[in-house]
């Protein structure tokens, strides 16, 4: 029992070292606040450790993705929101050290702002978080084909938006 616990702690330390930044990025890109994002990461990692102690986790990668996604959903459910509105995100106070990541958060959110939420989330998961279509399908409990079609529609909409923006800039010049 003690040996198993020690092994779990060593394994857990390794997972924290490898995955905490990825989890933090995942949470930050949806929440936009460092403190809240770190709280969620901590919650997810401790839940993983408890699961490891209790009965073990077969697929840690899958567990972490689902867990952080659900935790972010719960966070917004508590706040009665689905995502951070762009106007609200502009007024979030940030440290100087976090300016770069907050600009990144703003950049992505501005790009995806006009898209339907499920399409925007599919793009985030695929392009930003680097998940495969299969992983996204498993996470959202939808067929892989649906994920692909959502992705295609999202890209098309985004392309139109970018082209319009280019035309507008061309006309101005």
């Amino acid at each position: 029992m003690i040996k198993k616990t020690e092994q779990n702690i060593i394994e857990f330390e390794r997972i924290v070292g490898e995955r905490q930044d990825w989890l933090f990025r995942f949470a930050y890109m949806r929440i936009g606040r460092r403190e809240d994002a770190e709280d969620l990461v901590q919650e997810v990692l401790l839940r993983l450790f408890k699961a490891m102690q209790k009965s073990g986790v077969d697929d840690i990668e899958r567990y972490l993705i689902r867990s952080i996604s659900n935790t972010c959903h719960d966070y917004f459910r508590r706040k009665r929101q689905t995502t951070i509105p762009i106007d609200e995100a502009l007024h979030i106070t940030i440290d100087e050290s976090d300016r770069q990541i907050h600009e990144e958060f703003m950049r992505i959110n501005r790009m995806l702002d006009d898209l339907p939420p499920e399409q925007a989330e599919t793009l985030r998961l695929k392009c930003y978080d680097g998940l495969t279509f299969k992983q996204i399908g498993e996470l959202q409990d939808i067929p892989e084909a649906t994920v692909k079609s959502r992705y295609r529609y999202a890209i098309m909409s985004l392309k139109e938006k970018v082209e319009k923006q280019k035309e507008y800039e061309h006309e101005r010049v």
Partner: protein, 193 residues
Amino acid sequence: MKEFNDIEDLEQLLKPQCEFHASDKLKDEVIAKAKAEVRPRKVRLLPWLAAACVAGIIGLFLMPPEPSVNETPVVAKVEEKVSVTKKHETVTTETVKREVQKTARKKAIKESVAKVETPTTEEPITEQVEPSREPAMLSETDIPITRPENLIDTPEDFAQIARLEKRAFIDRMREQVEIAKAELIHETLIEEN
């Protein structure tokens, strides 16, 4: 080819452009909390002991007061009453026993007298005594001594005791008369023989 390039460009635009780092203390905090989870919990007895002491003190303060000194004579009174009733009962049982003995003796005498064919006046007496005395007998069910109001002797009780005493005296006298009669008869019979 142009469209393909556009999509690729778009995907490139959507990829992370900078590094995200969680704060340094996050890792330490998480690992410390995880280690605290597996550490065996210490059983803290002191708070429980303190709570038990407080509960005991509160219990002492809230306990109802013990019976005061004024109530003690009442208890003594009750005991007295109980002893009185017991005496009462013994008197009644003794008289009953005596009655039984008397009737047995009377029967023996009657038998002997019947042999001699001498008329006697005993029968009506026994018949009268037996049924009339039965209701006067007091059993434990008649007097529930646990009730305090039943422990007080009423004037009726005293009258009943007096009546029983008188009746017992008369019976004893009658018995002696009967014995004397029987002896006389016996002597006369012997003399005649």
